[in-house]
Amino acid sequence: MHLAYPVVLAALLFSVGVYGVLARRNVILVLMSVELMLNAVNLNLVAFDAWLRDSLHAGQALTLFTITIAAAEIGLGLAIVLLLFRARGTADIDRAIALGDPAESTADVDEAPVGTEALKGRATA
């Protein structure tokens, strides 16, 4: 099999992940996109493992490790997201802009007050 197939697939998958990370508003969807990027890397690892016929199977072992770390990451990430949600009443990443310039942030907040209030109401419950 040509090596080009898996590596091109991995590159495209990675780019899709990049798009997701940058474009999605919900934090959990962003985490999903990160998983896509990790999987693209995994595909690369496996492909190169097979290509190099590594006797140590470094690629596959690293893939397993990556999967493990990804599991840990998604666990911790979800915990943080839940924390954020409890504190803010939202899981939207473009609302968590406390580090931004205040003048800009108020403008952003004023854009969608209804959604915020709705989330707030649910958070109160």
Binding site: M1, L3, A4, P6, V7, V8, L9, A11, L13, F14, S15, G17, V18, Y19, G20, V21, L22, A23, R24, N26, V27, I28, M32, L36, N39, N42, L43, V46, A50, R53, L56, Q60, T63, L64, F65, I67, I69, A70, G75, L76, A79, L82, L83, F85, R86, A87, G89, D94, I97, G100, P102, S105, T106, V109, A112, E117, L119, K120, R122, T124
Partner: protein
Amino acid sequence: MSAAALLAATGPLDPAARSFLSPTGVEIVFLLVGIAVLGSAVVAVTTKQLVHAALWLVAALGGLAVEFLLLTAEFVAWVQVLIYLGSVVVLVLFGLMLTKAPIGRSPDADSKNRWVALVVALASAGTLVTLVVDAFRTSWIDLGAGGGSAAVTGASLFRTWVLPFEALSVLLLAALVGAIVLSRGAGRRVPAPRSGRIRAGRPVGSNGTVAQRAAAAPPAEAPETAPAEES
């Protein structure tokens, strides 16, 4: 691995036998599954329905497991199915539910950053594809059965990679503890948000409490329109 072995591993470079125009069966399957994977991934990052996105992710990751199989990495493929499809996607779904993600289409699923994201993604895709095609155009994988079987992988894992493996178990434990601490500790410290006090864009103190910053308070405060649904 010696240089000769490495050369052998790359396989003979016979252009007639290795043309892209005459793909092997494995290649065709790989290509089709790859298209499916890519399509599901694209749908997963673009769909407006959040739960559907998680399900499309299942499709993409499952397709990737098939690709692993095609690359003779059986064990990795099963681990992929078990961990990703079995736990990660379930966790993601749980997260969506716990954060009360709306069921159905949500028109604001994508942020305003979308067009920038698209440009960056296309640029990176173009760069990466150009580079890897340029680099691996003539490389050939000699697929041999059993290269990634559970026996072989287990042997290498517990022989060569045992130390990182054990270290990873510690990492998992730490992640477990961390997740518990984050969930419980934060729940205890943060008081229940009172209405009118929570506003997006307000800074949050390092201990998780809501800081009161009167100076930055926006003058207009929307009236409480949405009553608690579940109270």
